[in-house]
């Protein structure tokens, strides 16, 4: 069936760094509920408000409706016009969550054949060794396998969508 070409082992995971907690607190978000923040953000997005700024103790937050949302004190960069998918879909990660990234350029398949059940869907638990998805490139089906046990979080790519190297495909919450 699928044939894995001779490739050196590729890294398909991107973990939240050990000091994630610290880096979050650096940007002043330690005590703020991310869910709350998301709520505020979507409120701003669906409203006519251009920008909302608020302070909480020593935390300053500015959400701006001009170019999607940013939640840090860092200066806001304008997104390039032709932003590629990997850049558009930077997910918010909780500690313990791992991004599964595409190791190659290719076409993403969520199941082994059209119409079949997808290998995984959000909320599924997976075991180490389970197939997560397939990336087709150069007429080869490259099966991407989970490196650990966990629960599937968000899946950021649609079936049969083209993906680039380093693009986040899905999030897995590690057990």
């Amino acid at each position: 069936m699928e044939k894995n070409k001779k490739r050196e082992p590729v890294k398909i995971t991107r973990e939240v760094p050990e000091d994630a907690e610290k880096s979050v607190s650096l940007s002043g978000l330690k005590n703020l509920d991310i869910k709350k923040l998301k709520e505020i953000t979507s409120l701003v997005e669906s409203s006519n408000i251009d920008e909302i700024k608020f302070e909480l103790d020593d935390i300053k937050i500015s959400i701006n409706n001009l170019m999607h949302t940013k939640t840090s004190q860092a200066p806001q960069k304008t997104a390039p016009e032709n932003t590629s998918k990997a850049q558009e879909q930077k997910p918010v990660l909780d500690a313990g969550s791992v991004e599964i990234i595409s190791p190659i350029v290719g076409i993403f398949y969520s199941s082994s054949a059209p119409g079949d059940m997808p290998f995984v869907k959000a909320g599924d638990s997976v075991k180490k060794g389970d197939t997560l998805f397939i990336i087709e490139a150069m007429k080869h089906m490259n099966r991407v396998i989970s490196e650990f046990d966990g629960i599937i979080g968000e899946i950021l790519v649609q079936n049969e969508e083209a993906v680039e190297y380093d693009q986040t495909i899905m999030i897995i919450k590690k057990d």
């Binding site: 070409k5 390039p80 016009e81 032709n82 590629s84 990997a86 850049q87 190659i104 350029v105 290719g106 076409i107 490139a137 150069m138 083209a162 680039e164 190297y165 380093d166 693009q167």
Partner: protein, 447 residues
């Protein structure tokens, strides 16, 4: 004509190709490594695809990812630029197998050109002058003497499996040869385990001149002028000019005819460059053919008033050379300066880092091809070429004056560049007079 082209390159050449595509109304897809995610070529293209990590082998040389990127974005052609996959005959084959047009010559022509001894053989058969010498190993001193009488002194003895100057000896007469031949053999035996030697005519002050050729699918081949690339440092070109400096027009026409003959002998298609060495007595010898667009194509564009990248794309899409092009005239003089991220005060070591300030020259006759700007990060993963400054004026003297003016306007801060070194070259009397050859920099700038 193509609908969409994937540009399998980065830096200034990727941008150069994007510009040609824009003017032709062709969509372009950029590819980039994770190190280049903020790079200008990516932002300028209609679409961009990340093809791998910073290491070139895993990104810009990653054939699978590049071909797949072309497929998923529905590109009908790939432009390879220069370097990376531009002279990889296997890549051309893979493009062909996947119904993608490679903008360049067929794989057979690339394979033949990259096999130097085979290419030389083809040239000899077509009576194109090559550097005279022994065909392979010289058996003994007697046959060496016989050969050198024929090819005339000076000659250079080289170890067949050598490198780094070991076993190399320059002989100006028969006495030198008699002295050095056994020495070179002993040295080669000691260093490389074999005493095999070959002898070649030694060219004292060689000039590197090259001829731009264009060949369409029907085999019609034209030459659109020459370039002088004698200002080199360790075989890396630093300054290129068009036309060649003080080259008699009759000689230029003669070599052009040989260049066209060389391209035909190799069954060449697309754009290519035939390189010759020119000695002090205006004897010329074929050295090699470059099967890609070259960094210095810009000086030909400046004097010929043409766009070589567009020509290359048109030829690959099956267009035929129009008759008028053969009669294009060269006008004025052009000089290209390679602005590299290198420290000329410290043996030209690479100088990667962040560009804190960048100010480009402008005004009449000034062209800057670059991908940098204030804030750009120069990655240590790729070559050091930051920008090409191309100057055109009515003649060489005026072009030099304009070059001095433009280089003085050019400011790059945060990293070291070759700008100050170019200014020193322009202040050199021999350069200004056109007394140049490939050893010019090592002789004139010994410090």
């Amino acid at each position: 004509m193509f609908k969409r082209i994937l540009i399998a390159n980065r830096g200034e050449i990727a941008i150069r190709i994007i510009r040609a595509c824009r003017e032709m109304g062709v969509d372009c897809v950029a590819v980039y490594s994770t190190a280049d995610k903020d790079s200008l070529h990516r932002k300028m293209a209609d679409q961009s695809i990340c093809i791998g990590p910073p290491q070139p082998l895993k990104s810009y040389l990653n054939i699978d990812n590049i071909i797949t990127a072309a497929q998923v974005t529905n590109c009908d052609a790939i432009h390879p630029g220069y370097g990376f996959l531009s002279e990889n005959d296997r890549f051309v084959q893979v493009c062909h197998n996947n119904n993608i047009i490679f903008i360049g010559p067929p794989s057979e022509a690339i394979a033949l050109a990259s096999n130097k001894s085979k290419a030389i053989e083809v040239m000899k058969n077509s009576r194109i002058p090559v550097i005279p010498g022994s065909d392979g190993n010289i058996a003994d001193l007697d046959s060496a003497i016989k050969l050198c009488k024929r090819i005339r002194y000076p000659v250079i003895i080289k170890a067949a499996f050598g490198g780094g100057g070991k076993g190399m000896r320059i002989c100006y007469n028969q006495k030198d040869l008699a002295d050095f031949f056994p020495m070179a053999r002993a040295e080669s035996e000691k260093a490389f385990g074999t005493g095999e030697l070959y002898i070649e005519k030694y060219i004292l002050k060689p000039r590197h001149i090259e001829f731009q050729i264009i060949a369409d699918d029907s085999g019609r081949t034209i030459c659109v002028g020459e370039r002088e690339c004698s200002i080199q440092r360790r075989h890396q070109k630093l300054i290129e000019e068009a036309p060649a400096v003080n080259l008699p027009s009759k000689l230029s026409r003669t070599i052009r005819e040989y260049a066209v003959r060389a391209a035909r002998a190799l069954k060449y298609r697309s754009l290519g460059t035939i390189e010759f060495l020119l000695d002090e007595n205006n004897n010329f010898y074929f050295i090699e053919i470059n099967t890609r667009i070259q960094v210095e194509h810009t000086v030909t564009e400046a004097v010929m008033g043409m766009d070589l990248i567009k020509e290359q794309i048109l030829i690959s899409s099956g267009e035929m050379i129009e008759n008028k092009k053969e009669y294009y005239g060269s006008r004025g003089h052009a000089i290209e300066f390679r602005i590299n991220a290198e420290d000329p005060q410290n043996d030209f070591v690479p100088s990667p880092g962040k560009i804190t300030k960048c100010l480009f020259p402008g005004g009449p006759g000034v062209r800057v091809d670059t991908f940098i700007n204030t804030g750009s990060i120069i990655s240590p993963f790729y070559d050091s070429l930051l920008a090409k400054l191309i100057i055109w004026d009515s003649d060489r003297k005026n072009a030099i004056a304009r070059s001095v003016r433009a280089l003085n306007e050019f400011e790059i801060e945060g990293i070291r560049t070759t700008i100050p070194f170019h200014k020193r070259i322009l202040a050199n009397r021999k350069f200004v007079e056109g007394d140049i050859h490939t050893h010019f920099i090592e002789e004139e700038f010994k410090d």
